[in-house]
Symmetry: C2
Subunit: 119 residues, 2 copies
């Protein structure tokens, strides 16, 4: 039943670093749900399972968003047992677009604070 990649679990397609397209990254981050996921991944600085995020959508929709993030090269997903660990591809993004991720995260933080303060 289990394939020969048993310990690694199922294989998930990721773009190579060189294949990551800026437009796809921006598109991935232009969704509030996905931006929230990325912000949380960045602040925790750890790999998180999908279910550790408290997203106001169903599981199917979560799956969809995580896949968009993975296929655009923003996160890396790895199976560990029944869980699926999600990690930010910080090295790849920083290598490709130095400073971009930090600017984006800072911008998101700023806006978040601004919205919280100004209503």
């Amino acid at each position: 039943m289990v394939t020969d990649t048993a310990t690694a679990g199922r294989a998930l397609p990721h773009p190579e670093r060189e294949q990551i397209r800026l437009e796809s990254v921006l598109h991935a981050l232009s969704d509030p749900m996905r931006l929230q996921i990325v912000r949380e991944l960045a602040v925790r600085e750890a790999e998180l399972t999908c279910s550790q995020f408290d997203l106001p959508v169903t599981k199917s929709t979560s799956t969809h968003h995580f896949r968009v993030l993975r296929e655009s090269g923003v996160i890396r997903q790895v199976y560990r047992g029944t869980a699926k660990m999600n990690g930010l591809r910080r090295d790849d993004l920083d290598g490709l677009f130095p400073g971009l991720l930090d600017s984006l995260l800072a911008a998101a933080d700023r806006q978040s604070g601004r919205l919280r303060a100004g209503g």
Copy 2:
């Protein structure tokens, strides 16, 4: 008689600086056509008319893209006679999200060079 600033015939709705949303900016820039427009505006550092861009789409589509950029707060559009001048809202964007625009432009430049080199 050509007046300096106020032709003021048609007024175009722009979001105030505080109304600009990061997600909308990212969405606006996630389209290749619009990213190209913004890059050109940035490198020229001047206001350009719509027709000064050499976009591989029809005029209707151009109008659409410029409107998305304006409504997201990335560019400012002003009528001058029959022409429509387009300018990057650098001050507003830098004020809201310091460093973001430059990081994005640098990322776009990098990718452009990478794609040109690696075919």
